[in-house]
Symmetry: C2
Subunit: 269 residues, 2 copies
C-alpha cells in the first residue's frame, strides 16, 4: 500500500483537513476563460489542483464527466492524473463492478494504466465481482455502502431477514474478508445518523463521505460520529468548491470556498 | 422506442434465434492476423459482426475491454457501434450507476454520443440513480437482477424481512414504476431455477440472459422457463462464440459456433 492508512492519517493531521475535493468539471459552470482551451476540463481541474492541493488530502475524479466527452475526455483524464501531487490520494469515482474477468479489465485500467490510488466500486454483484480490484494490495478499493441520494432508501436501507439494514450486510461481508485492509466504504453525509451503525461494523476503516455541500450533509456531525483513531475520514466536497457561485465563479472563489471548508475542519485538530 | 418489444419479437421469430453475441475482444485470444492492424479490437469485432449478423438479434459490447485500452479503446468502440446493422440491438454492457447528475452524464454518453440502443445498469443505489437513463424513452435500460456469478449469493440471493430474495425487491421496485416499459432485466442462465420466480414479477419484460456457454448455463431450461408471449429473451453467448477453441481460433470457427448456438435455438420455433 503506497498511500496507506498511516500515510493518510499523517496527511490529515499535517493539513488539519479531512477534505477530498470532487473534480466534476462541467462546461456550463467552469469559468468562461477555460472555454478557449482545447482541453478545458484538464485546464480547469489542473488550476483547481494547483491552488487547493495544500488544503486537501484527496481528489475524487468523477469519471462520468470525462467519459461523456468520448475519447478526448479520457485523454484529458489521463493528463489530469499525472499533475496531481503525490501527497494527495487520487480517487477514480467510477462505481464499477462486473463478473471477474471483466472487473479485471476495469482494475487494470484504473490502477495500472490511469494510475489512480483508489477506485469506487458497486457491491451488488458480490465478493467475486470485486476481487480483481482487491488483489491490488497497494491500492484502495472503495465500496459503496450507504449512499447520499434519496434512492438509498430503495434497497440499501431495506431490512434483511436478520433485522439488519442491507448496507450492513455489505459491510459485514467485506469486513469478514481477507481484503479488508485495503477497503474503504462510501457513506453519505446525508445519512449521518447511520454513521454510528457503520462504525460498529468497520471501526478501523477509512470512510469516503460524499454529500456535504450541495447535498446538505452536516459536516460537524460527520466528524463527531465518523472519525476514528487513524482519523478515518475523507469528506468530499465537489460542486460547492468548484462552483461556489451560481454564475461567474472565478478561481479566487474556488480557493475561498476550499479554504472555508478546510477552516471548518481545522477546529477539530 | 425505436427497437421496441414488437421489433425484437419480429427479429427473434424471423431469425429463429434468441442470440445476443457478447463482444469481449481480448488480444490474447483473437486470431493472430488481427494483431497486425492498428485497431485490432475494432477489426476483429467488425469481422464477427459481418459473419454473424444474420444469426443474432443483438450484440452486447463489453465496455471494460475497450476501456482498458485507454482513449484508443473508446475510438475503436465508437467505430464499432457504427458498423453494426440496424436490425440488431446494440447493448453497451457498462453496468453503470451513480447519483442523478452523474448518471445523466453516463446516459448522455451511451445513448446520445455512442448511439447504443441499450445499456446495462446496477440497481444498488436505487431508483433515482437510474432515472436519467429511464428518461430516454426510445432506449432500453437493462437492470441487473440476478447475475450469473457465484457472488450473486452474497447479496442478490439474501432474504429480505418480507421473505423475498433481494433481487425480487429490485424487480418489484422497477416493475411498479412508470418506467417499466423500457426496462429489461439481467438474469443469469446459471440461475435458471429462479427464472420462474423472475417471471412472476415481470411476465412482460425482456430478459437478458448471460451465463450460457463459458459459464455453463442450460440453454433449453432458460428457453422453457424464461420465454414469454413476445419471446422475451436475449440469450448472450460471448467467449464460446468468439473463442470456441482454446488456441488458434479462426473466423470460420466463430461462424460455426454461432451457427451451432442458433441451431440449438431454432428447434424452439
Amino acid at each position: 500500500m503506497l498511500k496507506d492508512t498511516t500515510f493518510l492519517a499523517t496527511q490529515i493531521r499535517a493539513k488539519k483537513s479531512f477534505l477530498c475535493i470532487g473534480l466534476d468539471p462541467d462546461l456550463e459552470k467552469i469559468p468562461a476563460n477555460f472555454h478557449d482551451f482545447d482541453q478545458p476540463f484538464f485546464e480547469f481541474c489542473h488550476e483547481v489542483v494547483k491552488i487547493t492541493s495544500h488544503l486537501t488530502v484527496a481528489y475524487k475524479i468523477n469519471i462520468a464527466f470525462f467519459e461523456a466527452l468520448g475519447p478526448d475526455g479520457w485523454i484529458q483524464l489521463e493528463k489530469l492524473v499525472k499533475v496531481i501531487p503525490d501527497e494527495c490520494l487520487i480517487i477514480a469515482d467510477a462505481k464499477r463492478s462486473d463478473i471477474g474477468n471483466t472487473s479485471k479489465k476495469y482494475a487494470e485500467y484504473f490502477f495500472n494504466r490511469l494510475g489512480a490510488d483508489a477506485v469506487t466500486l458497486n457491491p451488488y454483484m458480490g465478493m467475486d465481482s470485486l476481487e480483481p480490484f482487491f488483489q491490488y494490495k497497494d491500492k484502495w478499493s472503495i465500496v459503496l455502502a450507504l449512499t447520499s441520494n434519496p434512492g438509498a432508501a430503495d434497497f440499501e436501507l431495506k431490512h434483511t431477514d436478520k433485522g439488519d439494514y442491507f448496507f450492513e450486510e455489505v459491510l459485514k461481508t467485506f469486513e469478514e474478508s481477507s481484503y479488508k485492509d485495503n477497503i474503504m466504504y462510501v457513506v453519505g453525509a446525508t445519512k449521518a445518523e447511520y454513521l454510528r451503525i457503520v462504525r460498529q461494523h468497520c471501526p478501523n476503516s477509512f470512510l469516503l463521505i460524499p454529500g456535504v455541500g450541495e447535498q446538505g450533509g452536516d459536516l460537524k456531525q460527520v466528524i463527531l460520529d465518523g472519525r476514528n483513531f487513524t482519523e478515518g475520514l475523507l469528506i468530499n466536497v465537489g460542486r460547492k468548491i468548484l462552483y461556489p457561485k451560481s454564475v461567474n465563479t472565478t478561481m479566487s472563489d474556488v480557493l475561498t470556498s476550499a479554504e472555508d471548508y478546510r477552516s471548518q475542519m481545522a477546529v477539530f485538530f
